[in-house]
C-alpha cells in the first residue's frame, strides 16, 4: 500500500456522506425513459429508432457518429413514444432524445450475448471494441468515451493506470458503495483496462473517509499482479484527474490540450471499471448506473438506476423531500449542476442527486473582492482566480487568457473559499467561453 498523501491546495470539506451505509438497490422501472443522444463528451449519437418501434433492454437506439462519441442503448423494454427535443440537464438547453414508454417487463434484447470471464483470452483491441459497443463513458461525471481513453496514441506508452475511487465531492457515495459491494467486479474491469492500454502498473486510489471501501478493495486486489492501493487523505478536489495524477504519481499533466496520456497515465472511475466488467462478462451495454440520491430527502439512498429515469422519480423513491426544497443538484454540491426542474432524466454522467433545502441555499449578495488571496492559496492548479475573475468581470478577456483562464478545471474551490462570496467560477467560465469564441472566430477568419 502506498503512503497516504494529499493535495496541496484545495479545501477540506465536511463530507456529509450520509448515504454511505445504504446498500445499492434497484430504483425500479419509471413510467417514462428519456435517452438523450448526447450523454458524453464528443459528437452526439444519431437516433436509429422511430416512434412506435418496440425496443428491448440493451438495444441500440442511437449510433455513435464519430471516433469521439458513444452509442446509446435502450435501458429497458418498451415502445418508443417520440424522438424529440427535451430539456437537457447538463447542456441546459433542449436536445434530441429518444423517449420510451416502458412495458415493465425489462426484456433483454436477443443481440446480447454473454461474453468471457477470462481476460487473457481477449486482445486489447477486443476490449476497446467491447467498451465502444457498450457505449461506455467515464462514469465519474465527465462522461468521456471510454473506448477513446483505452486507445492511447502509439507514441505515448502508458506505464500507470489509476483507478479513481477518491469520490471527493461531499454527499456522493455511489463509488464507495460500488467498491464495497462489487470490489471483485471492479478489479476485473480494471485489469481489462490495464490490458487494453498495456499498463504494467495499476493503482487504486481511495480517500481515507471510506474505510469499508478500502478494506473491500484491498481484499480484492490481493494476489493480483501489478495492482496497488493508494489511500489518500481526504481533500477536495483530489478526485479530479489532474489532481489525482499529481498526488499519487507526482506528475503534472501539461496544460490543455495536454492529456494524461502525455505523462504516461490513464485515469478511470471505479464505476467505469465495473461497467466494463459487466460488458465483458454479460455482454450487457451501459444501461444503468449507481446514483446517490441524498441531501434533504427523507431516506438518502444509493440506487441502481436505469439511464433515462426522471430525477423526480428518484426523489420519490428516496422518500420525497425533507423540508422545502431549494435546490436540486445533479452531481455533487461543488461541481454539480442545479436543475431548474425535476422531470429531467439521469444521464450516463450523473453521479448523484443532491437536494438542498431553501435554508441551505445561499443567496447572499457578493461583496467587493478584498484580494485576500484565499482563492489563490486553494487553487489546485495554482492559478490566480482573483485576477482571472477580475479581468473577466471587466470584459478584458485577453488579460484573463494570459492568466491561463483556459487551464481552469472549474472545481469551485475558489468560489467556495471566497469570503466575499463572489461567483468566481462563473466569471472564469464566462472568460473561457469568450476566449474560445474569439479563437473560433479567428480560426474561421484564417480559413475563410
Amino acid at each position: 500500500m502506498l503512503r497516504a498523501r494529499t493535495l496541496s491546495g484545495g479545501v477540506h470539506l465536511d463530507d456529509r456522506k450520509i448515504s454511505s451505509g445504504k446498500p445499492v438497490e434497484f430504483a425500479g422501472i419509471p413510467p417514462e425513459i428519456v435517452l438523450f443522444m448526447s450523454q458524453h463528451t464528443g459528437a452526439p449519437a444519431k437516433p436509429v429508432v422511430k416512434p412506435g418501434d418496440r425496443v428491448l433492454a440493451g438495444q441500440v437506439v442511437g449510433e455513435a457518429q464519430s471516433f469521439v462519441s458513444a452509442p446509446v442503448h435502450a435501458s429497458t423494454s418498451g415502445i418508443v413514444k417520440a424522438v424529440e427535443n427535451r430539456y437537457h440537464p447538463i447542456l441546459a438547453k433542449p436536445s434530441t432524445a429518444v423517449v420510451i414508454e416502458p412495458d415493465g417487463k425489462g426484456e433483454i434484447w436477443e443481440g446480447i450475448a454473454p461474453g468471457s470471464d477470462d481476460i487473457s483470452a481477449l486482445s486489447p483491441e477486443d476490449i476497446v471494441k467491447i467498451a465502444r459497443n457498450a457505449g461506455l463513458v467515464g462514469l465519474g461525471g465527465a462522461a468521456f468515451p471510454t473506448a477513446v481513453k483505452l486507445s492511447p496514441p502509439k507514441d505515448k506508452p502508458i506505464d500507470v493506470y489509476l483507478l479513481n475511487g477518491a469520490e471527493c465531492e461531499p454527499y456522493l457515495t455511489c463509488d464507495a458503495r460500488l467498491m464495497v459491494e462489487e470490489a471483485d467486479e471492479i478489479v476485473f474491469g480494471f485489469m481489462a483496462m490495464m490490458k487494453a492500454v498495456g499498463a504494467p502498473r495499476g493503482i487504486v486510489c481511495i480517500e481515507d473517509n471510506k474505510p469499508e471501501a478500502i478494506m473491500a478493495m484491498e481484499r480484492a486486489i490481493s494476489g493480483k499482479p501489478g495492482i496497488e492501493l493508494c489511500v489518500l487523505k481526504t481533500r477536495y478536489p483530489q478526485g479530479g484527474e489532474k489532481q489525482l495524477i499529481q498526488v499519487v504519481l507526482g506528475r503534472e499533466v501539461p496544460p490543455p490540450p495536454g492529456l494524461p496520456f502525455d505523462v504516461g497515465v490513464v485515469v478511470s472511475n471505479v464505476g467505469t471499471a465495473y461497467a466494463l466488467a459487466k460488458a465483458i462478462r454479460t455482454g450487457m451495454p451501459l444501461v444503468d448506473r449507481v446514483v446517490t440520491v441524498t441531501g434533504a430527502v427523507r431516506s438518502p439512498s444509493n440506487f441502481r438506476v436505469l439511464l433515462g429515469t426522471p430525477v423526480s422519480f428518484l426523489i420519490e423513491k428516496a422518500g420525497g423531500y425533507a423540508g422545502e426544497p431549494g435546490k436540486v443538484i445533479m452531481g455533487g454540491p461543488m461541481m454539480g449542476i442545479s436543475l431548474p426542474r425535476t422531470d429531467v432524466p439521469v444521464v450516463k454522467g450523473t453521479t448523484g442527486i443532491v437536494v438542498m433545502t431553501r435554508d441551505e441555499v445561499n443567496l447572499d449578495k457578493p461583496l467587493p473582492c478584498i484580494r485576500c488571496g484565499r482563492c489563490v492559496d486553494a487553487c489546485p492548479l495554482r492559478l490566480l482566480p482573483v485576477w482571472i475573475a477580475a479581468y473577466s468581470d471587466r470584459g478584458t478577456y485577453e488579460e484573463a487568457e494570459k492568466y491561463r483562464a483556459l487551464d481552469c478545471c472549474e472545481c469551485g474551490v475558489c468560489a467556495y473559499r471566497c469570503p466575499s462570496r463572489r461567483p468566481l467560477v462563473q466569471s472564469i467560465r464566462l472568460a473561457k467561453q469568450a476566449i474560445m469564441e474569439e479563437r473560433r472566430a479567428r480560426a474561421q477568419k484564417a480559413s475563410g
Binding site: P333, R358, P419
Partner: protein, 327 residues
C-alpha cells in the same frame, strides 16, 4: 411541478468564513492588546480607543449615506481601522486626534478610493501618517510612562527605540517589561505577549498568512543583529529591536491586511521581508526612531507590482517552460 428551485452556477456550497466573520476574528484577536493597553495606560487608553472606533464607524456610515452606497459598517472593517489607529497612538494625545485620524482614514484613504477592497494603502496607517504629518509634536512627544490601571505619569517618558537610537537619554527597560508591555510606547504596541496571543489566534484560525509576520520580524532581527551597532558587524541589539516599537503590532495586524498585501504566498513572504528591510533602514539610518508604519505603507504601494511579478508556476507548465527555454 410544484417546487420552485433555485438555479445558480456551481459550487453550491460556500464557506462560512465570510468577510464579516474574518474581520470579527481580527477584532477578537486585537482584544488582548486592547486590554493590555488599558491595563498599562488606564482610562485614557480606553477613551482613545472608543473615540477612534466610533469616529471610524460614524464617518463610514455618514459617507456611505451621503454617496448612497450600501452601509457596510456591519462588516467590522471600520471597527478594525479604528482600533488599529488607536493602537498606533501615544497614550497622551488629546482625544480629538483619534477622532480626526479615523475620519481621515475612513473617508480619504478608504472610501474615496472606492471603499472596502479598493484602498491602496492600509487606512489605519494612512490615518497615522496624516496625524504624524499634521501634529508631529503630539505624535512623538505624548508618551506616558506606564502605570497600573491609570497610575500614569504625566511627564514624558522616552521610548526604548529613542533610547536605542541615542535620541533620548534613559535606561532601557528590562526584557521582561518589554515582553509584558511595561514600557513607554504607543497604546497597542507595548505588550508583545498580548499581540502574540492575538497573532497566534489569527494564524490558528487561518485568517492571516504567517509568512508576512515571520518574514517581517525575522528580517528585522537578522538585519539589526548584523548592522545594529555602528562600526561593528553582528553585534546589534537585535532582541531589543524586535521587541520594541510597533514591530509586532505592524507585523501581525497591519502588514497582513488583505487588501494591501499580495495574493500569492511567495508574494506575501516578499512583502514581509520588504517591510522588515525598510523598517531597519529607517530605524538605523533614517530620520525617525520608528519605521514600521512607513515601511508597511511603502510595501502597500509596491504590492500591485509584487502581484504582477510574483506569479506561481501554473500546474502542468513545467514542461512548457522547459520547451520555451529550449527555443
Amino acid at each position: 411541478m410544484t417546487e420552485r428551485l433555485v438555479v445558480s452556477p456551481s459550487p453550491h456550497w460556500k464557506t462560512d468564513k465570510t468577510v464579516p466573520a474574518l474581520m470579527l476574528d481580527v477584532v477578537i484577536a486585537l482584544m488582548p492588546a486592547v486590554i493590555a493597553s488599558i491595563v498599562f495606560f488606564g482610562w485614557k487608553a480606553l477613551a482613545i480607543i472608543l473615540t477612534s472606533v466610533s469616529s471610524a464607524v460614524i464617518s463610514e456610515a455618514i459617507y456611505e449615506k451621503a454617496v448612497k452606497r450600501d452601509i457596510t459598517i456591519k462588516d467590522y472593517s471600520a471597527v478594525i481601522t479604528g482600533i488599529l489607529l488607536a493602537m498606533n497612538m501615544p497614550p497622551g494625545v488629546p482625544l480629538w486626534m483619534p477622532a480626526i485620524g479615523s475620519a481621515f482614514a475612513i473617508v480619504i484613504a478608504k472610501q474615496l478610493f472606492g471603499g472596502l477592497g479598493c484602498n491602496f494603502v492600509n487606512p489605519a496607517l494612512a490615518g497615522r501618517a496624516f496625524l504624524m504629518a499634521a501634529w508631529p509634536l503630539h505624535m512623538t512627544r505624548d508618551w506616558l510612562a506606564p502605570g497600573f490601571f491609570g497610575g500614569v505619569d504625566a511627564g514624558a517618558s522616552p521610548t526604548p527605540l529613542a533610547v536605542l537610537k541615542g535620541e533620548s537619554s534613559g535606561v532601557l527597560p528590562g526584557l521582561w517589561d518589554m515582553l509584558l508591555g511595561n514600557r513607554a510606547g504607543c497604546l497597542g504596541e507595548t505588550s508583545i505577549i498580548a499581540i502574540l496571543i492575538g497573532g497566534i489566534y489569527l494564524i490558528w484560525k487561518e485568517v492571516i498568512d504567517p509568512r508576512i509576520p515571520l518574514g517581517f520580524i525575522g528580517t528585522v532581527f537578522v538585519l539589526t543583529w548584523v548592522f545594529g551597532k555602528p562600526g561593528a558587524f553582528f553585534q546589534g541589539n537585535a532582541v531589543y529591536h524586535v521587541l520594541s516599537g510597533g514591530l509586532f503590532l505592524g507585523a501581525f495586524f497591519m502588514a497582513t491586511d488583505y487588501v494591501t498585501s499580495p495574493v500569492t504566498a511567495r508574494g506575501r513572504l516578499l512583502m514581509g521581508i520588504g517591510c522588515g528591510a525598510i523598517t531597519v533602514l529607517i530605524r538605523l539610518w533614517g530620520g525617525y526612531p520608528e519605521g514600521v508604519s512607513y515601511s508597511i505603507l511603502l510595501m502597500n504601494l509596491v504590492t500591485p507590482l509584487i502581484d504582477r511579478v510574483v506569479v506561481p508556476r501554473y500546474y502542468g507548465w513545467k514542461h512548457e517552460a522547459r520547451k520555451e527555454k529550449a527555443l
